[in-house]
């Protein structure tokens, strides 16, 4: 075989090997930059002054259960669940019609690292009309909507604080 062919093949092999590595790294990029940071509110109402800041700085919580945001919700319906106090403060979960379970159990949607929470503490789900409902699942220390302890499944008003142990969550648009 001629020298030239072999040299070309030698360099060609290195090229394709590195091409594979580079393509693989490109695939990884989508995982590295897979979190989406959306500035809400500001874009829609550019002229309005920002009177309030979010109570806690958003933490880089890599949560699997997030989604692309519920764009198909009706108007006035909450689109996300925000943890406003507690160790998970800043976490948001997009509401897409799925049941959100809260508790210390590892398969909960929001895993609470809180001594006052039960392993399956509460769940939040939409009823048939798309109204979001919070229900206590027989927890030891109770779930509080505003100041009242929940006894039955209760609809959640927009922005009302739901307290579980040290964690406070609320639904927002």
């Amino acid at each position: 075989m001629s020298e030239l062919t072999l040299t070309v093949m030698r360099l060609g092999f290195l090229a394709v090997l590195w091409l594979f590595v580079i393509v693989a790294v490109q695939v990884i990029r989508s995982d590295l930059f897979g979190t989406r940071v959306t500035q809400r509110g500001a874009a829609r109402r550019g002229g309005e002054p920002r009177t309030q800041r979010q109570s806690a700085p958003p933490q880089q919580q890599r949560r699997q259960e997030g989604g692309r945001g519920g764009n198909r919700q009706r108007r006035g319906a909450p689109t996300k669940l925000v943890v406003s106090e507690g160790t998970l403060a800043g976490t948001t979960v997009a509401l897409q019609g799925q049941t959100i379970s809260l508790g210390r159990a590892h398969d909960s949607t929001i895993v609470l690292d809180d001594d006052y929470a039960s392993s399956r503490h509460a769940r939040i789900y939409p009823d048939r009309d798309g109204q979001w409902i919070v229900e206590d699942l027989g927890s030891t220390n109770g779930t509080y909507l505003d100041r009242t302890r929940l006894t039955t499944a209760t609809p959640i008003p927009l922005g009302a604080p739901i307290r579980i142990g040290k964690t406070v969550i609320e639904l927002r648009k």
């Binding site: 062919t5 072999l6 040299t7 093949m9 030698r10 360099l11 092999f13 290195l14 394709v16 090997l17 590195w18 091409l19 594979f20 590595v21 393509v23 693989a24 790294v25 695939v27 990884i28 995982d31 897979g34 979190t35 989406r36 940071v37 959306t38 500035q39 809400r40 509110g41 920002r50 009177t51 309030q52 800041r53 979010q54 958003p58 933490q59 919580q61 890599r62 949560r63 699997q64 259960e65 997030g66 989604g67 692309r68 945001g69 996300k80 925000v82 800043g90 948001t92 997009a94 019609g97 799925q98 049941t99 590892h106 398969d107 789900y125 009823d127 048939r128 922005g159 927002r172 648009k173």
Partner: protein, 460 residues
């Protein structure tokens, strides 16, 4: 209210299943070894090797079947692990076949290796089909411990090969390297054990000189594991397994407890143990001596360490070209298994060797990423453990061949010749893919009707 506030939402994109990316990479991963294979043939004989078509079809079939299985049984699994493993395995086959072309290096190993690779892929497929959830493995925590102990101790009763007793020889069938399987089983045990015990290990400690010192009774397990790895070193004279076993435990302990003190303890214990054993074990002494004095003449020739360095030097930056190196000059004991990296370094050069090492790095990165994404602590620990074992093995072999650390008898995963190694590593990748499938799977959508009814279905 929230309509005025500026909220920053940080959420992940619902991870796409990425099976098509995997397919594209798999095609790539089949074509590169085929290209290398043809290249070797052209360089050695001046013609395309006769088996080229069969090899392409075989490797392509293997890749195709695994892809279909992953698509069906692990649709959300990581897209990179399978192609990278397939590429490394394919390259390993090419390099072994290339070394088979040198009559001075013993009988042909490539056909056997192809058989073992097929068995490994079959085990991989079996794992994906029958292991529906990796948490099932948690039930076998203590059974895994016993199995691992048996696997680690068994080789003592069989004759050693080249000074290391790491094989179980079955007359008429061949030999098996149980340490390769032990690393998977032991990772299962450590993950199950540490998941239960990690709070006690992490929290019950006193602070001293900026380090958290664990209580005496919590030190128990690490001392037991340390003693066991020393026993392996003494009775089986196997540096690699001993290092892998102890290193894996320290890595998993650190990940489970987040206490730096465990790493300090681990390093101190392993250094102390290694020095103590090297004091009286001649096999270890020889290895260390060869590492420190590679150019010393032994039986009229230089040591294997020096031979490996010569081949790296001969390859240079871009390598001598596939099939155009001087691997036939390697007089060592294991050019196709332990020292295969020397041939890689010579024929594809520094550039190619770095590419191959990056592929290992990618596989390890994906494993750690899987651990980060996993939602259950057992899955996290198991993914870290399996990846850690894999990474340690790569480090021990690559470090040994390049002269960074004394050489230990281990095989480069996927690349080196060795049936047990390739089968065990396919199983390892299979379990990792299963964990990553669970980790990347989007949360299931609930059945909408039952929750709204007056009577509810209570699901366990």
């Amino acid at each position: 209210m929230s309509s005025i506030t500026t909220t920053t939402t940080i959420g992940t994109f619902a991870a796409p299943s990425r099976r098509n990316t995997e397919l594209a990479l798999l095609v790539f991963a089949v074509l590169i070894p085929v290209f290398a294979y043809v290249n070797v043939g052209l360089a050695k004989d001046g013609s395309v090797p006769a088996g080229a078509l069969g090899y392409t079809v075989g490797l392509g079939l293997l890749a195709g079947v695994t892809h279909v299985i992953v698509r069906k049984w692990a649709p959300y699994a990581d897209p990179l692990m399978l192609p990278v493993a397939m590429l490394l395995n394919g390259m390993g086959l090419v390099f072994i076949w290339r070394l088979d072309q040198e009559p001075s290096l013993g009988k042909a190993m490539a056909p056997n290796q192809l058989l073992w690779s097929t068995l490994g892929v079959a085990l991989f497929i079996g794992l994906l089909i029958f292991l529906k959830d990796h948490r099932v493995l948690q039930r076998y925590t203590y059974i895994s411990m016993i199995v691992a102990l048996v696997l680690l101790i068994a080789p003592v009763f069989f004759p050693g090969v080249n000074g290391a007793k790491i094989w179980i020889t079955i007359p008429g069938l061949g030999s098996l390297q149980p340490g390769e399987f032990a690393k998977i089983v032991i990772a299962i045990f450590f993950a199950g054990y540490l998941m239960v015990k990690r709070d006690a290990l992490a929290l019950a400690s006193r602070r001293f000189l900026g380090l958290y010192l664990p209580r005496g009774r919590d030190l128990g397990p690490i001392l037991v594991i340390w003693a066991m790895s020393l026993m392996i070193l003494v009775f089986e004279t196997d540096l690699g397994t001993s290092l892998l076993f102890f290193g894996l435990f320290v890595v998993m302990l650190y990940v489970a407890t987040e206490r730096t003190s465990w790493i300090v303890f681990g390093l101190l214990l392993s250094a102390g143990g290694a020095v103590a054993v090297a004091g009286f074990e001649s096999h270890v002494q020889v290895r260390v001596h060869n590492w420190l004095n590679p150019l010393e003449l032994v039986n009229g020739g230089v040591t294997e360490t020096a031979q490996a360095m010569y081949s790296f030097g001969s390859g240079g930056l871009l390598g001598s070209g596939l099939g155009q190196g001087y691997s036939r000059l390697i007089q060592g004991i294991a050019p196709k298994s332990d020292y295969i990296l020397a041939t890689v370094g010579e024929e594809v050069g520094l550039a190619g060797l770095m590419g191959i090492l990056l592929l290992y790095g990618l596989l390890i990165e994906r494993g750690i990423r899987t651990a980060l994404a996993a939602r259950d602590p057992f899955g996290k620990l198991l993914a870290v453990g399996l990846t850690g074992a894999f990474a340690l093995q790569v480090f021990v072999v690559a470090g040994g061949v390049t002269g960074l650390i004394p050489l230990t008898g281990m095989t480069m995963p996927f690349l080196a010749q060795g049936g047990s190694s390739v089968i065990a590593n396919w199983a390892l990748v299979g379990i990792l893919l299963r964990i990553s499938d669970t980790a990347r799977r989007p949360a299931p959508t609930p059945a909408p009707s039952t929750d709204a009814d007056m009577t509810q279905v209570v699901r366990p």
